[in-house]
């Protein structure tokens, strides 16, 4: 720990008075990796997507010094901080921004918070998950810090070399970040699953400290007010990290029929997904949409019922381990990506599956 502290002070000092022989050391030090993970919590529990962001930070370098930033107030934030402090061996610090203004994920407040924390901490990397929170705040924070962010990363090859999908995942782009610190990134959670050794609690919890908000200026965020979040109550697992997903498309024909799909989902312990067509038609709410501009999922089993397989939908599920498609139309493009395809009427298949599948223990 002392060595790290010494390295950090050396890095922060000006090198103009040093002889040129010291320069190679400087370049090694200036690439000292330290990462800020901007995390989310829900009712005191760190969200799985944030834990994926920590895994991604670990993928940048095994010698990474990871700080986790949490915001909110009340007993929940304390609980979340304690959980974060023991959630991964590479986490060296948990930072808590304890104020009501961070209860809601407003981009204006959070981008300024990240800006403030970066000015104090001087991190080489800042990471968050590529979900609606991360996508909303990270680019704004990057603009404040005058750097180009790299978003929706699926692979970290080197500390500044990343792979991200383009053209709805029909091409993969390898990019190298050549700008100044911090390198700001959002990562696709399914691409950075939690490792089993990370799941074991650490022997020594990281220290938790409060972010000094005395300079936090209200003029930055008073112009935006959070009113409400309309979400549906469901017992189904979260679409973003479920092991099994059953998706309905336009072929389901009505909201009522989606209840049938839900019964199958219950049998399998699965999350329910939907195509854009099904959401547009009003069968299900928007947060079930899987696709290029909806949720990206990569479950172990993806079953698509009445889904034609448009490019934009495939973008959201093509990395699933096993894909099963049921569609009346033998020419539906979905059959080109499915591991198992069944050309049949989903209204016959779903009840039969519900009947014949083994009970979940």
């Amino acid at each position: 720990m002392a060595a790290l502290a010494m390295l950090r002070t050396l890095r922060n000092r000006s090198f103009t008075s040093f002889s040129p022989l010291r320069l190679p050391i400087r370049s090694a030090l200036s690439r000292f990796i330290s990462t800020l993970v901007v995390a989310e919590h829900d009712g005191g529990s760190i969200k799985p997507s944030s834990l994926s962001a920590v895994e991604a930070a670990a993928a940048i370098s095994r010698e990474n010094s990871i700080s986790v930033l949490l915001g909110g107030s009340g007993p929940d934030i304390g609980k979340a901080a304690l959980q974060a402090a023991s959630s991964h061996p590479l986490i060296s610090q948990v930072l808590v921004a304890d104020a009501d203004i961070f209860l809601h994920p407003l981009a204006e407040t959070w981008a300024e918070l990240v800006h403030l924390v970066q000015q104090k901490g001087g991190y080489s990397h800042i990471i968050t998950a590529s979900n609606s929170f991360g996508k909303n705040i990270l680019p704004r924070a990057a603009a404040l810090l005058d750097v180009s962010p790299v978003t929706d990363i699926t692979e970290i090859s080197e500390p500044h070399l990343f792979v991200r999908p383009i053209y709805a995942g029909n091409a993969l782009c390898t990019v190298r970040y050549v700008g100044k610190d911090p390198c700001m990134m959002t990562i696709r959670s399914p691409s950075f699953p939690m490792h089993s050794e990370s799941a074991e609690p650490k022997s020594e919890a990281a220290p938790i400290s409060q972010v000094d908000l005395s300079t936090f200026n209200e003029e930055f965020f008073g112009k935006s007010r959070w009113l409400k979040l309309a979400s549906q109550d469901t017992e189904r697992p979260d679409l973003g990290n479920a092991r099994v997903v059953v998706t309905g498309g336009r072929g389901l024909k009505s909201a009522e029929n989606f209840k049938l799909l839900e019964k199958l989902a219950e049998k399998l312990g699965a999350a329910v997904g939907a195509t854009r067509a099904a959401v547009d038609a009003g069968f299900v709410p928007n947060d079930l949409q899987v696709g290029q501009t909806g949720k990206i999922v990569a479950p172990e089993l993806y079953m698509a019922f009445g889904v034609s397989g448009a490019i934009q939908h495939l973008a959201g599920m093509r990395d699933s381990k096993v894909i099963v498609a049921i569609n009346k139309d033998a020419d539906a493009p979905i059959f080109q990506v499915a591991d198992y395809g069944l050309v049949a009427d989903l209204f016959d298949v779903i009840p039969e599956l519900i009947e014949k599948l083994p009970e979940k223990k």
């Binding site: 407003l106 929170f133 680019p139 091409a171 979400s231 709410p285 591991d339 395809g341």
Partner: protein, 258 residues
């Protein structure tokens, strides 16, 4: 109030893109180009706001080489009052630089609202709107599925599509809004409007004239195809499906079989 709408020229959404054999990028020659679908939605929303009487003028802007003027002609044909073409040369411009250009234009045009599509379907970045908002210190309503303007109070109530459902924010104007798919259905440009658009003004400007330095802190190393899935099988019954799934190592423990 004036509304500024930023639009982008991209490969048409229905085209099956092909990666070039030399891995330098995607094939764009002889390929159909169109206005980014999210940008069409942004423009449509601006036009509806103007038609409701809450705004006087809709100005379309694009950043890109000469051919991008096509996209502005489409915008004018749909109903934009005037257009600005920022010619930044042939090389792609990163969102951060686009954001700086838009900030400079906002400072010239002084709009009450800047509307953009949430993402371009070529790079799928989903960054520009957020970045301009940060540079301008304006409030942002991203992934908007509904926008209601209160002209008197000068606020916009924005419903957004987020992971958990629909979130509602109230933003003081001027503000930045990025549009999601379900915000509206864009109109088609009618033939008479396409003809009228030919005589509408497109002002040409360069980044230098706007005092913006194009920065490039990201390099594209290569563009490759995604891994191909091995070919699947067509099965003939539910029984066969369950049987196949039971025998797959992966799904076996999902189905709780021995």
């Amino acid at each position: 109030m004036k509304i500024l709408v930023a639009v982008k020229r991209v490969i048409d959404y229905a085209v099956k893109v092909r990666v070039k054999p030399n891995k330098s990028g995607v094939e764009t020659s002889n390929v159909k180009m169109s206005m980014n679908p999210f940008c069409e939605i942004a423009l449509e929303e601006a036009l509806r706001i103007r038609e409701s009487g809450a705004a006087k003028e809709v100005v379309a802007v694009t950043v890109g080489p000469a051919q991008c003027a096509d996209t502005l002609r489409t915008a004018l044909a749909m109903g934009a009052d005037r257009a600005v073409h920022v010619d930044a040369g042939a090389a792609p411009v990163l969102p951060l630089s686009v954001a700086k250009i838009l900030r400079a234009l906002v400072q010239v045009e002084q709009p009450g609202l800047l509307i953009l599509g949430k993402q371009a379907i070529d790079d799928d970045c989903n960054q520009t709107g957020q970045m301009v908002a940060g540079l301008l210190k304006w409030p942002q309503g991203t992934f908007a599925s509904k926008v209601v303007l209160d002209k008197e109070k000068q606020v916009a109530t924005v419903e957004r599509e987020v992971d958990g459902g629909l979130e509602t924010l109230c933003l003081d104007l001027p503000a930045v809004i990025t549009t999601d798919l379900r915000l509206n259905q864009p109109r088609y440009a009618t033939l008479p409007n396409i003809m009228k658009a030919k005589s509408k003004v497109i002002k040409k400007v360069t980044p230098e004239e706007l005092n913006v330095e194009i920065k490039s802190d990201l390099e594209v190393v290569q563009v490759t195809e995604p891994p191909k899935r091995k070919a699947g099988v067509i099965i003939s019954s539910v029984d066969e499906l369950i049987d196949k799934l039971k025998n797959e190592v992966v799904s076996c423990n999902i189905l709780n079989c021995k």
